[in-house]
Amino acid sequence: MAQPSALVHFSGHQHLRNRLVLSILSGKHVRIDKIRSEDKNPGLRDYEISLLRLLEKVTNGTVIEISVTGTTILLKPGIVSGGTLQHDCTLSRGIGYFLEPVIMLAPFAKKPLNITLKGITTEEHDLSADILRTVTLPHLQLFGVSEGLELRIKRRGAAPGGGGEVQFLCPIVKQVKTLNFVEPGKVKRIRGVAHAVRVNPQFSNRMIEASRSILNRYIPDIYLYSDVYKGDESGKSPGYALTLLAETTTSAIYCSEAIAEPGVAPEDIGLKATRALLTEVEKGGCVDQKHQTFILLMMVLGSEDVGRCRMGEPTPKTIQFLRDVREFFATSFKIVSADLSDPDCFQLLYSCYGTGYINANRTLA
C-alpha cells in the first residue's frame, strides 16, 4: 500500500549527524552501513546511540533499525514533533554534538521546541554552549527564526564529570528566509565569555587579561565577560575556557574558543583563543568555518529564490555535506570565487536555488 520511499545509502561512520538530519528533513529513508566495521570495537558508539535516541524523541513515527553488530543502521524518518523534552547526553561527547542537529531540525517542528540537555557544556571537539548561544543562534536569526529563540545555560559542566544543563527554546517557522549575505563588513566589536568552574575564579580574569593584550590594539569595543558559576551550577569537574567572537558591521560573526588543558597556564589559553580568533578574522567571509554546513543547509531549505553567501573555502565536512545535500534534495550549489578580479581571493560565493521547503509539520489553526 505505502510505496517505499526513496532510500539513500551511505557507508562509514563519518558525517552521521548531517546525514540523519538531511534524512529527517527530506523524509527519505537512509541506510548507513560499514560503521567502523573494520575496527576492533565495531559498530555505533555510545554517543551515536544517544543521538539516535534523541532524534527519536524529537520526532514522531521515526523507525530506527540497528543491525545486531551495530555496523548498519536504517532510519525511516517520521515528522519532527518538538514539544517539551529532556535528554541526558552521554559524557563521551559534549552537548554541542547533540544540540547541533536539534537546532537544524527545531524550526521545522510541529510545536515549538523546549529541550533540556544534560551533559558536558564545554568540550574539546564540539561547539560549546557559549558558541551555540552567541554564534549559532544569531546565524539562525539570519533566516527569520528569531522570536523566542533562546539557549539558557543553567549549569556548566566540564569534562569528564559533566553535570551541565542547557535549555534550548526554538520557535517554529513556515519557511526560512532566503539568505543574501555577501558583504563581510569589518569587525566592529569583540565579545567574549571566560568561565571557570571549580577552579580559582581568578583564572578567568587571567585569560581575559591575556586576550586583551592582543585585541586592545584593534578596536576599543571589547567586552570580555567573566562568567562565574558557583556550587551546584558549576558541574562535577573543574575546568575553564575562553570563548571569543568578533562581530562585523554587517553582523557577520567569527568565533573561536580555547579550553583548559592540563599543564597550560590560563594566559596561554587566553592567547590561544585570541589567536584562533584572529585566524578566523583573517580568513574572512560572512560565516565562520564551523557554521558552514549549517548556513548551507538553511540556504537549501529557503524559498525558491537564489540565496547567496560568501564564505571561506569549504572544509572536508562541508564538501561531503554538499554532496549529501544533492543526494537528498537534488540541489547543487554554484560556487565561484567571491571576487573574480582578485586572484588572491580565497573566499567563495556560494549560491543556490532554494528548494522551497515548507514546514509541512506545522499545524494550521
Binding site: 523524509g27 554587517t250 589567536r275 585566524t279 572544509t315 572536508p316 561531503q320 582578485d342 588572491d344 509541512a360
Partner: protein, 1127 residues
C-alpha cells in the same frame, strides 16, 4: 414672472469664441465635467474611490513563471458532451494557426502573439479528466448549452476548480440558434448569466456563440473571444507556484521491443513524456506523480528545442505577429499536416492516391517524410562508415571510423547539439542524422510547422539511451580533465607571477610541456611559499565537488585525479585510503586548532597586517569598497589612520602605492556620494510618497526575482540545470522508468496526462487531518469508515476517513456521521500534502451516479504519524455487595489486571451517585471495590465512562484511471452496503440490538422508617408527621340521613333531570356519528375521482418522457447528443 418672450440669441461675430472655434474638442480629461456638485457628494465620492482602491489590492504573491519566454498558457475547453467543445477547439486553432484539424486530440500549442503562446486542450466529460484539467488550466472556457441550461457536470467542475485554486473562467453559451423566439433568447441569456455570476463572481465574462457555419463557429465571434483571451491576466495560484508540473503533449514508449515481446507486453515500460515545464523549476532527482498512474521516478530530463518558439526580437521587428509565425502549431497527438503520432507509430494520412515522383503536386510534411525514408538505400552502419566527421570546423583531418563507431557518432551528435552550426562537413549527412536523432531541433525555415520528428520504431531505441549516458560521462571526463589541468596550473603558479594563469586550456597544455624544468627548479621556493600560506589557487569547485569522486580531503589538500586514476588502473591490490576509514575520526564541528599555525601571530607585523579588517583600520589595498553604514560612520577615523597605514603598505609593496592612492581617492568620492544621497533622502523629501506595506512587499519580491535572474545569467545551460533545475517555459523530455504497461497499452490522447512534481514532504505517507464539510448539494451524509475518493494535491486516491470534532479542546471525539451544516475534522491515511492545500472528495467517480458527485470539500490542517481520535466507551457493572458507601462491583472487567489499569477512575450510577474505582477483588475475576458519595442501590448500574483511541485504517488506493482500457470505469473499494447488495448478502442482525417491548415491573418502595429512638431525639419540626390513615369511620360517614318528603321529591326530580340530560347527549352523539360516516363516504368518492385523474396525468407524463428518451437514444445511435443530467 412676466411673459415677455426672450430675445433671440445672436451668435458672436468676433472675439474669443470665434477664435476658439478651430479646436472644437478639448483634448484629454475634462476636470470640470466630473466635478461633484456638493461637498457631501465630493466626500462620498472620495470615500468610494478609496474603498475601490482597497478592493484592488491582493496579497502580493511571487510569480515563479519567468517573464521572458514563459510556458504557453493552458486553455482548457470544458463542458458536457454535445455542447460544441471540439467545434470551438477547431475554430480557435483555425483562427490562430490557419489549419483545419480533423482529429483534434491532446494539447495543441499555437503562437498567439509576440509574447504569448497558448495550449488548447479539450476536456472530455469524465470527472477524472475534469479534476486533472482543473489543476493545471490557466484559463477555462466553460461551455454551456444555452438551449438546455446548466448541467450537473458544469457545477461539479466549478466546485473542483474552487477547491484547487480558481483559475480564470470564461463562460461560453452555445446552441443559442436553437432558441427561435427573441424574447425567450433574451430571458434565457439573462437567467443563465445570473446563475453564472453567482457561481464565479459578479460580472464574470460570458460569451455567446450563435450557430455553426461550415463546422466552425462564426469567425467574428471567435475573433472576439480570442481578443479577450489575449488580454487576460493571470494571478499566480499558490499550489502551482510551489510545484513544477507539465502537461504532456507527447508520449513515447522506449522499452526495447524484444522485452515487450518476450513478456507479452506485460513488462514495465520506459516512457518519455514531453512538455513545457510550468510552475516552479523542475529538478532531476525529485519524484513526479502522474494522476491516474502513480508516483514515478525521473531517470533523466533533457531540454529540447522549443517546438513552437515565440518570435524573437530579431525575427519580429514589427508590432504585430507576422503571418508566418501564425502558422506555427505543435500538436503531436492531433493530425496536423496529415501526420499523426501514435504511442508507438507515426501515421501519415495521404489524401487521394499517392505516387512517387509527382513533383509538381505540393507535398505535405508526412509525405515528404515517407519519401525520404524510401530514398534511403544504405544501412546506417554504411552511412556512418562513409561519413567523415571533423571535430571542429577548422580541423584538417576528418576522424576515421574504426572500432569505436558508436562513440564517434554520438560525439558528433553531441557536437551538433551544442554548436548547431559549428560543423562544416556534417551537412551532407544531416538528413539522416535528423531522422535518427530526435533530440536535434529542426526548424523548418519558412512554411508549415516545426514539429519534432519522432523516431520510428525500426531504429533501436537503445542508441538514444546510450547517448544520454555518454553525455553524462563525457561531461565528467571534461570536468576531470579540467581539474587536472587546473591543479597542474596551481602547482606551477607558485613560481610565477599571478597574471600568468592562462585561462585557455590549449595554451595551458602547451605551456605545461615546456614549463616542467622550470617547475622543478623552483621547487624549494614553492614549498616555502606554500608554507607561508599564500597558496594561490583558482579551482573549479563545482566540478570538483559534484563531478569527481575525490574524497573531500583529497580535494582540499590537492591530490590530483591523475594519481588517483593510476592507483585505480595499475595496482591490483589497493591500499585503502586511511583517512576516510579511520574509525577514530570523530564527527566534530570544531576543527582542531593547529598550534603551529597560531605561532605566526606572535609577530607584530602579522598582527598589524589584518588591521584593515577592523573598522578602525584603513581601507585596505584590495579596495572592496563596500561603503556600508559602519564604514561611513568611521570616516574620520579612517582618514586619521590612512597616512600611517599608507606608509606601512608602502614598505610592504611600493609598487602598489600609486594604484592604492588612486583607488583611495575613488573610494572617498564614492563615500561622499553615498553620504550625500543619504542626506538628500532625509532632508529633501521627508514627507514624500511613503511606500506602504503593499508596495514594499511588491518591491521586495521584484528585487528577489531580479537577483534570481542575475545570478545565473552567464552560466552555461548544463551547470544551470544542475543548480537550479529546469526553468518554467523550457520544453523538456522526461524519461520515466517502471511505468505500468497499461498506461501505454490503453493510451488515449483525449485523456490529459499531467506530470506533477512532488515536494519532498509529499512523497511520504502519514495521517492527514483535514477540515471537511459535506457539500450542500450532495444529498447524503458521510459516514465514518466509509471509503471516500480524495482529490488532494496532484493525486486522486481513495482512503478511509474518520470524522471527528474538537471536544472542548481536550480531545478529538469521533463522529459517526458528518454534521449537517458544519465543518468537522476528518483524518485519513494517505500521502501527505502541505497544510493549507485544498481538496475535494467524491463517493463515486462513476458517470452513472445520479445527482451531484462532489461529496465534500475542505483543506488540509495537519499531518502526523499518529492520530489522536477517541470515541466514548461506557463500561457497565453491577454491585453485588453494598456496604455503606462502599460497594463491590462485578461484570465490568474480566481480570484484575484491567481493574489495576482503571484504579482511581471515576464511576457513576444511573441515579447520578459518583464514585471511584478502588482496588481489584480476588474472588470473582474482574470485580473491584468502589466507593461512592452515597450508598448505592443493588439495582443501580455502575458506569465507567472512558475514551478509546482509534486509528484510521491504513488504506490507500490510488485512482489509476489512466491504466484502464475504459477510463471512466474505475472501481474502488465498495461500501459494505454495496458489497452486500452486489453479493446478495443480508445484513447480519444482532439479536441484542433489536428493539423489544420493555416490560417494567412496578417498583415497590419500602416505607421510610425512622427509628423510635431517633424520633424521640428529633426536634418537633423534624419529627415525621406521617400518621396512619384513620381506620374508624368518621361521623359524617356513619350517620344515617332521613329526608323530609319535599326533600326527597326534590332529589328525585334532580335525578330524573340528570337522567334525561344524559340520554339526550347520548342520542345527539349517535346522530353526529351517523352524519360523520355519511360524509366520509362522500369524501371517499371524491378522492377516488381525484386519484383517477392524477393517475391519468402521471401516465401521460411518463409516456412523454419515454418517448423523449427513446428519441434521444435514437439520436445517440445516430451520433447525436447523449443523455443529459439536468440540474
Amino acid at each position: 414672472m412676466d411673459e415677455r418672450p426672450h430675445k433671440a440669441h445672436r451668435a458672436p461675430q468676433s472675439g474669443g469664441k470665434i477664435n476658439k472655434k478651430g479646436k472644437e474638442k478639448q483634448q484629454g480629461y475634462n476636470e470640470k465635467a466630473f466635478a461633484p456638485m456638493s461637498g457631501r457628494r465630493a466626500d462620498r465620492q472620495g470615500r468610494r474611490n478609496v474603498e475601490r482602491d482597497q478592493t484592488r489590492l491582493h496579497v502580493p504573491l511571487v510569480n515563479r513563471t519567468p517573464d521572458d519566454d514563459p510556458p504557453p498558457v493552458i486553455i482548457a475547453i470544458v463542458g458536457p458532451s454535445g455542447v460544441g467543445k471540439t467545434t470551438l477547439l477547431k475554430s480557435l486553432v483555425r483562427r490562430y494557426a490557419k489549419q483545419t484539424l480533423n482529429e483534434a486530440k491532446g494539447p495543441i500549442t499555437v503562437v498567439s502573439g509576440k509574447k504569448r503562446r497558448l495550449t488548447f486542450i479539450e476536456c472530455n466529460n469524465d470527472i477524472n479528466s475534469m479534476i486533472d484539467i482543473g489543476k493545471i488550466a490557466d484559463l477555462v472556457l466553460l461551455m454551456v448549452d444555452g438551449s438546455f441550461g446548466f448541467e450537473m457536470e458544469t457545477f461539479e467542475f466549478l466546485n473542483i476548480l474552487q477547491s484547487h485554486g480558481f483559475p480564470k473562467v470564461i463562460g461560453i453559451l452555445t446552441h443559442l440558434d436553437l432558441i427561435k423566439k427573441a424574447s425567450t433568447l433574451k430571458d434565457t441569456k439573462k437567467a443563465l448569466k445570473k446563475r453564472f455570476w453567482t457561481e464565479i463572481y459578479q460580472g464574470a465574462k460570458l460569451f455567446y456563440l450563435s450557430g455553426v457555419l461550415n463546422g466552425r463557429y462564426p469567425d467574428t465571434e471567435i475573433a472576439n473571444l480570442t481578443r479577450f483571451v489575449s488580454v487576460i491576466k493571470f494571478r499566480p495560484l499558490v499550489f502551482r507556484n510551489t510545484h513544477p508540473y507539465l502537461l504532456a503533449d507527447r508520449l513515447e514508449d522506449l522499452t526495447p521491443r524484444e522485452e515487450v515481446r518476450t513478456s507479452k507486453g506485460k513488462c514495465d515500460r520506459v516512457v518519455t513524456v514531453y512538455g513545457y515545464v510550468r510552475g516552479t523549476n523542475l529538478r532531476l532527482g525529485t519524484k513526479v506523480h502522474i494522476p491516474g498512474v502513480g508516483d514515478l521516478e525521473m531517470k533523466s530530463v533533457t531540454v529540447l528545442g522549443d517546438p513552437c518558439p515565440l518570435p524573437t526580437a530579431e525575427s519580429e521587428k514589427r508590432r504585430k505577429l507576422s503571418e508566418k509565425k501564425k502558422l506555427l502549431i505543435h500538436a503531436p497527438m492531433s493530425d496536423v499536416g496529415g501526420v499523426m503520432y501514435d504511442k508507438d507509430a507515426v501515421w501519415v494520412n495521404v489524401p487521394g492516391s499517392f505516387t512517387r515522383g509527382n513533383a509538381d503536386v505540393l507535398q505535405g510534411a508526412g509525405e515528404q517524410m515517407v519519401m525520404d525514408l524510401q530514398d534511403v538505400n544504405q544501412t546506417l552502419e554504411d552511412r556512418v562508415a562513409q561519413s567523415s566527421i571533423r571535430l571542429f570546423g577548422s580541423s584538417s583531418k576528418a576522424l576515421t571510423v574504426e572500432a569505436a563507431i558508436d562513440e564517434e557518432d554520438e560525439e558528433a551528435e553531441l557536437d551538433e547539439e551544442d554548436f548547431d552550426s559549428g560543423l562544416g562537413s556534417e551537412e551532407g549527412s544531416d538528413d539522416e542524422d535528423e531522422e535518427m536523432d530526435e533530440d536535434i531541433p529542426r526548424h523548418a525555415d519558412n512554411t508549415g510547422r516545426t514539429n519534432r520528428r519522432t523516431v520510428t520504431r525500426s531504429l533501436p531505441s537503445s542508441i538514444k539511451e546510450r547517448t544520454e549516458v555518454e553525455y553524462a560521462e563525457s561531461d565528467s571526463d571534461l570536468g576531470e580533465d579540467e581539474t587536472e589541468q587546473r591543479t597542474g596550473g596551481r602547482v606551477r603558479v607558485g613560481g610565477e607571477e599571478e597574471e600568468d594563469i592562462p585561462s585557455d586550456e590549449d595554451i595551458d597544455e602547451e605551456e605545461e610541456v615546456e614549463d616542467i624544468p622550470r617547475w622543478k627548479a623552483n621547487l624549494a621556493d614553492r614549498a616555502q611559499q606554500l608554507a607561508a600560506g599564500t597558496r594561490k589557487r583558482r579551482m573549479d569547485w563545482i566540478k570538483l565537488i559534484y563531478n569527481t569522486d575525490l574524497s573531500p580531503e583529497e580535494i582540499l589538500h590537492g591530490k590530483t585525479t591523475e594519481e588517483k586514476s593510476t592507483d585505480d588502473g595499475d595496482d591490483f591490490f589497493q591500499i585503502k585510503s586511511k583517512h576516510a576509514e579511520d574509525p577514530e575520526v570523530l564527527d566534530c564541528t570544531k576543527e582542531p586548532v593547529d598550534a603551529e599555525s597560531l605561532k605566526k601571530w606572535e609577530a607584530e607585523e602579522m598582527l598589524d597586517a589584518i588591521r584593515h579588517l577592523f573598522i578602525t583600520g584603513a581601507d585596505d589595498e584590495a579596495g572592496d569598497g563596500d561603503g556600508d553604514g559602519g564604514e561611513a560612520e568611521d570616516g574620520e577615523n579612517d582618514a586619521e589612520d590612512e597616512n600611517e597605514d599608507a606608509e606601512d603598505e608602502g614598505d610592504v609593496d611600493s609598487g602598489k602605492k600609486m594604484k592604492g592612492h588612486v583607488s583611495r581617492t575613488d573610494a572617498l568620492a564614492r563615500k561622499k556620494e553615498i553620504l550625500k544621497r543619504k542626506f538628500d533622502e532625509q532632508y529633501d523629501d521627508p514627507d514624500g510618497p511613503k511606500a506602504d506595506f503593499y508596495d514594499e512587499k511588491k518591491e521586495e519580491i521584484a528585487q528577489q526575482l531580479a537577483t534570481n535572474r542575475a545570478e545565473f545569467e552567464g552560466v552555461d545551460a548544463e551547470a544551470r540545470a544542475l543548480v537550479e533545475g529546469f526553468r518554467p517555459g523550457q520544453y523538456v523530455r522526461i524519461e520515466l522508468h517502471d511505468v505500468p504497461c497499461e498506461m501505454i497499452e490503453h493510451f488515449d490522447p483525449t485523456y490529459p496526462i499531467v506530470v506533477g512534481g512532488l515536494l519532498p514532504a509529499e512523497e511520504r505517507f502519514g495521517y492527514v487531518q483535514v477540515r471537511i464539510k459535506r457539500h450542500r448539494w450532495y444529498n447524503r451524509i458521510l459516514k465514518t469508515n466509509d471509503p471516500l475518493i480524495f482529490s488532494l494535491g496532484w493525486r486522486r486516491f481513495q482512503s478511509i476517513p474518520i470524522y471527528s470534532l474538537d471536544d472542548h479542546s481536550i480531545r478529538m471525539r469521533m463522529l459517526k456521521y458528518t454534521p449537517e451544516h458544519m465543518h468537522c475534522y476528518a483524518t485519513f491515511y494517505g500521502p501527505v500534502a502541505i497544510p493549507n492545500t485544498g481538496f475535494c472528495a467524491f463517493n463515486s467517480l462513476d458517470a452513472s451516479t445520479p445527482g451531484f458527485r462532489v461529496s465534500a470539500t475542505g483543506v488540509v490542517l495537519d499531518i502526523d504519524r499518529s492520530a489522536k481520535i477517541v470515541k466514548k466507551i461506557k463500561l457497565t457493572g453491577v454491585p453485588y455487595k453494598i456496604f455503606k458507601n462502599t460497594a463491590f462491583i462485578k461484570d465490568m472487567f474480566s481480570t484484575a489486571l484491567e481493574v489495576a489499569k482503571f484504579e482511581g477512575a471515576n464511576v457513576r450510577t444511573v441515579s447520578g451517585i459518583r464514585g471511584q474505582v478502588k482496588k481489584a477483588l480476588p474472588k470473582p475475576d474482574g470485580s473491584f471495590r468502589a466507593t461512592f458519595e452515597d450508598k448505592i442501590l443493588k439495582s443501580d448500574i455502575v458506569f465507567l465512562r472512558a475514551w478509546y483511541s482509534i486509528q484510521p485504517r491504513k488504506f490507500y488506493n490510488p485512482v489509476t484511471s489512466l491504466l484502464l482500457s475504459e477510463k471512466s470505469a474505475w472501481k474502488g473499494m465498495r461500501l459494505t452496503g454495496q458489497v452486500r447488495r452486489d453479493e446478495g448478502v443480508k445484513t447480519p442482525l444482532n439479536v441484542n440490538s433489536t428493539y423489544k417491548k420493555i416490560e417494567r415491573a412496578p417498583r415497590r418502595f419500602n416505607p421510610l422508617i425512622v427509628p423510635k429512638k431517633l424520633q424521640a431525639q428529633l426536634p418537633y419540626g423534624s419529627k415525621p408527621k406521617l400518621m396512619a390513615p384513620q381506620r374508624q369511620e368518621t361521623y359524617l360517614q356513619k350517620r344515617a340521613v332521613v329526608m323530609e318528603p319535599e326533600e326527597r321529591k326534590a332529589v328525585a326530580l334532580m335525578q330524573q333531570i340528570r337522567a334525561l340530560r344524559k340520554d339526550q347527549v347520548a342520542r345527539r352523539h349517535e346522530k353526529k356519528g351517523e352524519k360523520r360516516a355519511e360524509r366520509a363516504k362522500k369524501m371517499e368518492k371524491v378522492d377516488a375521482a381525484k386519484s383517477e385523474k392524477e393517475k391519468e396525468r402521471k401516465k401521460d407524463a411518463m409516456r412523454m418522457a419515454g418517448q423523449k428518451s427513446k428519441r434521444e437514444a435514437d439520436m445517440e445511435e445516430g451520433g447525436g447528443r447523449p443523455k443529459r443530467r439536468k440540474t
